[in-house]
Amino acid sequence: MSMVLVEKASSLTSEQSHSLLPVLLEYQKKNPCNYISEENVKEIAEKLNLSRSRVYSTASFYSEISLVPRGKHLIRICCNAPCENAGKEAIHRAVKDKLGIDVNETTEDGLFTLEIVNCLGACYMSPAMKIDDQVFGNLTPESAVEIIKKMEQTDEE
């Protein structure tokens, strides 16, 4: 292969690969199960002219990208020191009991997945959790359960 061809090929890969992360996040957002499926990986690899292993390599590195199906709503409880000291464990237990699932599990109705997350930047109102894009702070076990109940009701309507 001539040098010109090599240069052309390498510039093509770098041009296309640097949109990989936004593309992965976009696909995940559109997937009703909030994850990157094997089908998604194949499609992204073809569209961006990358190998599937290359797509997997990036997808598997980041905590916000899931390779297993998740629920409609993602509940993330902050597990860092300021939240831990402010009573994260009790919140965690209350939410687990309410949903009947453990961390990284999804409720049977497919509505909620419970995850833990590193610092939400809400330490001035710890303990904190995030449901989808919204952050809730100054939680008590009761208020955390109440927030989830309200979401269940809104979803039924």
């Binding site: 916000e64 020191a81 610092c119 001035y124």
Partner: protein
């Protein structure tokens, strides 16, 4: 956060829109620099003594100057808004409350560096911040303050918001570059530094949100004014994210030279319910744990360096006398274990081994030899880790091993027996 007359001048629940930003002098700094040679900015920032606020405290003027003098003409600017240091929420505040001050800072820095394209890399955990800053760019563009031919001149800046995807390590500048290029967020070997070979191998200026937001005020009011705040060694102010066992948690703009004691007691109101301060964690998970006797230390780079305190991102987390030091240490090690990218052995295996030893201490089955091992692994992580993550994980362990040796001893089997005998 209280209204002051320093850099940020904003209440905690206040949003500064474009009109109110302009009415308080916003964008006058941009007008000022665009009528002068761009070297004026570098000189003014050097005279002001502005240093990076993300953690490394590198002189900002020098960094901008390095990109400005690059032979390559295509250059990039990146605003690092991947605020992930546990206990830190200052950049989030700037993005959501003072977006226009940040944008003006980015414009001035880009103008000085000669960059016409760039990114704001915002962590995925901050969707509302991504939204606010996106809107601010649209508003500023409509007002002719952003985008093409800014203020009718020849300078243009195209800026994109790039979302992270949940990786603490991507706050490290070379890992951030890998992430922007669609790869795993793993660090690269330095040199070459990003100022020389950054995004797509081009000279790239990477600055923290708070650093960039300082720039408009320095240019507007001048280096002398800036140096009148803070100390000779560390001019200006630092945003302090105060959390933990204090009466008033929150974000405070604190002039350098203030003692940590004053931050905890004057700004934060001291510990709750008549408790005493047992320890203060300065600089987040990668920072140090120091006892209350050290609170007379001043928030100042030289003073902190002498006492091996890292100001870092400015996170201050207070632990009162009901708290267990080792519980805090275990929490941090779990954090680093999760965020370590696995590239180098000292960090990857070091953290794993440290975690095992901490569990032994927790179960009171450790021996004093285990403590020696802990000291040794800590040193290896500090000295031999590839990037700042592993090194910082070592730093944070080292301070607790130094100041809270007795709590570690308590987790040793023979020591516990002897003490109860």
């Amino acid at each position: 956060m209280k209204n002051s007359n320093w850099i940020f001048n904003t209440d905690f629940d206040e949003f500064i829109d474009l009109d109110s930003y302009v009415s308080r002098g916003g964008f006058s700094a941009l007008r000022k620099v665009m009528s002068q040679d761009s070297s004026f900015i570098v000189e003014e920032l050097n005279r002001a003594g502005l240093r990076g606020r993300g953690g490394a405290a590198f002189p900002t003027g020098i960094k901008i100057g390095m990109v400005a003098s690059a032979s390559e003409k295509e250059r990039f600017i990146i605003c690092n808004a991947d605020e992930g240091e546990p206990g830190t929420f200052k950049d989030r505040f700037i993005l959501t409350h003072l977006p226009f001050q940040l944008l003006e800072g980015i414009l001035i820095a880009a103008y000085a560096a000669g960059a016409e394209k760039g990114f704001i890399y915002v962590r995925h955990e901050y969707p509302e911040a991504q939204e606010k800053i996106k809107n601010a760019i649209t508003v500023a563009e409509k007002a002719g303050l952003f985008g093409k031919n800014i203020l009718g001149g020849e300078f243009s800046l195209h800026l994109e918001i790039f979302s992270g995807a949940g990786s603490y390590l991507c706050g490290e500048e070379t890992a951030l570059l890998s992430s922007l290029e669609g790869k795993k967020g793993r660090p690269r070997l330095k040199p070459p530094y990003p100022t020389e070979a950054g995004y797509l191998g081009k000279p790239t200026l990477i600055n923290n949100v708070e650093t960039l937001a300082n720039i408009p005020k320095i240019i507007e009011k001048g280096a002398e004014w800036y140096r009148s705040i803070g100390t000779e060694d560390s001019p200006g102010t630092k945003l302090i994210s105060l959390s933990g066992d204090v009466k008033r948690r929150g974000l405070y703009e604190v002039p350098y030279g203030t003692s940590f004691h004053d931050i905890v007691y004057e700004y934060g109101g001291g510990p709750k319910d008549g408790r005493k301060v047992k320890a203060v964690n300065i600089g987040g998970a990668s920072g140090v744990l120091v006892p209350s006797e050290m609170l007379d230390t001043l928030l100042e780079y030289r003073c902190c360096m002498e006492k091996e305190i890292t100001i870092g991102s400015g996170a201050l987390f207070v632990l009162d006398d009901t708290r267990d030091i080792l519980e805090n240490v275990r929490n941090r090690v779990r954090f680093f274990l999760h965020e370590s990218c696995g590239k180098c052995t000292p960090c990857r295996e070091g953290l794993r081994q440290v975690n095992i030893l901490l569990e032994k201490l927790n179960k009171r089955t450790a021996t004093e030899e285990d403590l020696d091992r802990l000291d040794r692994y800590t040193r290896v992580m500090q000295d031999a880790s590839f990037c700042g993550l592993g090194q910082a994980a070592g730093n944070s362990l080292k301070s607790s091993l130094k100041y809270y040796r007795d709590e570690y001893m308590n987790g040793c089997v023979r020591y516990a027996e002897e003490m109860s005998a």
